[in-house]
């Protein structure tokens, strides 16, 4: 009859020497929620939102950088390789044809890549948001 009282005390005093921790975290979370309603959730939201903003900005800058590099290389190829001027396709020099038409597929490609990446970032954010 007298060998159990110390064990009862240990449970309420949060000293997990017997290995059973499961009740204490859930109790702690509940207390926090009552003490500061909403604020914890808001903080998490702000952190997620800032992370999303940063990843979207990185994606945007990366897309523009990629586009500028590809455009610059294409331009240099057209401008600096004189042989392209000598090639005549359907009565037109190849350099003119490339300049008139070749840049649009590049623009469309980067637009599609960005749209996919941005949707992926938002999906990741939603997943985090729903979990938290």
């Amino acid at each position: 009859m007298t060998e159990h009282p110390p064990r009862r005390v240990r449970v309420t005093a949060d000293a997990p020497s017997d290995g059973s921790r499961s009740p204490s975290p859930s109790k702690a979370a509940a207390t926090r929620g009552i003490a500061l309603p909403g604020s914890r959730v808001d903080d998490a939201d702000a952190v997620y939102a800032r992370a999303l903003r940063r990843s979207q900005l990185r994606l945007a800058l990366g897309t523009v950088a990629g586009f500028v590099v590809v455009t610059a290389v294409l331009t240099l190829v057209i401008v600096l390789i004189p042989e392209i001027d000598q090639v005549i396709v359907a009565g037109l020099p190849l350099s003119w044809i490339l300049h008139a038409f070749a840049f649009y597929p590049v623009i469309i490609l980067f637009a599609l890549l960005y749209a996919r990446g941005a949707a992926r970032n938002e999906r990741a954010f939603r997943a985090l948001d729903e979990r938290g």
């Binding site: 939102a49 945007a60 300049h99 008139a100 941005a118």
Partner: protein
Amino acid sequence: MNPVFDLVGVALVIIATLLIGVYGLRVSRTTGDFFVASRTVRPVWNASAISGEYLSAGTFLGLSGLVLLEGARGFWFPIGYAAGYLLVLVFVAAPLRRSGAYTIPDFIEARLESQRARRVTSLAVLVIGWLYIVPQLHGAGLTLTVVAGLPPWVGEVAIAVLVAGSVAAGGMRAITYVQAFQYWLKLLALLIPLVCIVFALTGGPHDIDPVAVFPVEAGPAGFGLYETVSLMLALLLGTMGLPHVLVRFYTSPTGVSARQTTVLVIVMVSAFYAVSSGMGLVSRMLAPDLADPAVADTAALVLPSRVFPGLFGELLTALVVSGAFAAFLATSAGLIVSLAGVVSQDVFSGSVRSFRISAVLCAAVPLAIALLTAPAGLGSSVGMVFVFAASMLSPVVLLGVWWAGLTARGAVAGIVTGGVACAVSLVVHAAVGGIGVAAPLLAQPAAWTIPLATAVSVGVSLLDTRGAPSRADRYLARLHTPERG
């Protein structure tokens, strides 16, 4: 050329515009309908409308003229216009849709919580919009002069009256359907003649010497690095500063659909620019005698009847003329809708009645400017508008969407610096034609005015003792967070 066919073509475009406008009027009832079509326009319709609005006289007629006059350098303009939408997509399309504002000044006011910043932005929007409408009116005057021998003021007045009337009557809802129709009309009005001409060229014998028609000095290798880079900067960044481009995102239901719409727009304008560039190449082969600044912009109008004398050529010309009118109408209508939205909310009460009065006012000013000035190359005039938009509004919009530290004083300082720097350099360039090494810096100022305006905005914001609005971080979070559902 047969003026009767051409005028019938113009009349058909006008009648179709009015009919679709009247249909739109029946479904637009509220203030929301007037300003942003109640945000219920589907991506495909919305993308057609945005493209229809974006493709102006500057590329419909101006591109062939530029390629005739300046060779391959002209191709940079449409490439820059299309790539400008790539920057709109990656930096502002979805965030601005989520901002919940109707116009750029609305966005600036909500973001910076400042009436003064709003008023300065509205002024910048008005100046840019008016500068952009003037070449559209000039293009209309030029077209009617070429095809029917009418004095230039007839076309200018006709477009201004028609656009002010239909905008005042139907608002944005009507305009959306009108412009979606006009995109497809513009595309076909260049594509069909181009296909016919190319077919005729490959079929029959012709003695065109590629080396003489496409000389290396006028080719892609023949122009300066600084000027090209500066022009591209202006065109890339200028698009997001155009008043009628941003207002369009408010008609998408969500940020995600705003992004889908923008991707579609890039595909649609690219298709048009490829066709328009093809017309430029054909102009060099068939109409080298038009390579004179006064008549170069008429090349696309004149070509069909040169290749096909007789009835077929006349009908093709009438088609090109209708497409050109669709271009003048769509761009000026889109601009006047967004300008009238700004004026009616800043100067008047923001009601439907004040929107109508503002639409008339916003058409009258550029008409007066167009009547008092002579056209100076449609392609280059439109390019100059992009320099102003890129220097005045784009830095502030970009910073407003991505940097929580922007303050109202910083925004005002940036807009004023960008505008003054562009105006001074272009005026000095026009007056003295450039001074030694400074000539390219004055002719194409974007490469230094955009960084200058951005630096001033950031510097003044950092020094501003009042600091950024306390809710800036929360507002930014809203711009970049996807809608629920």
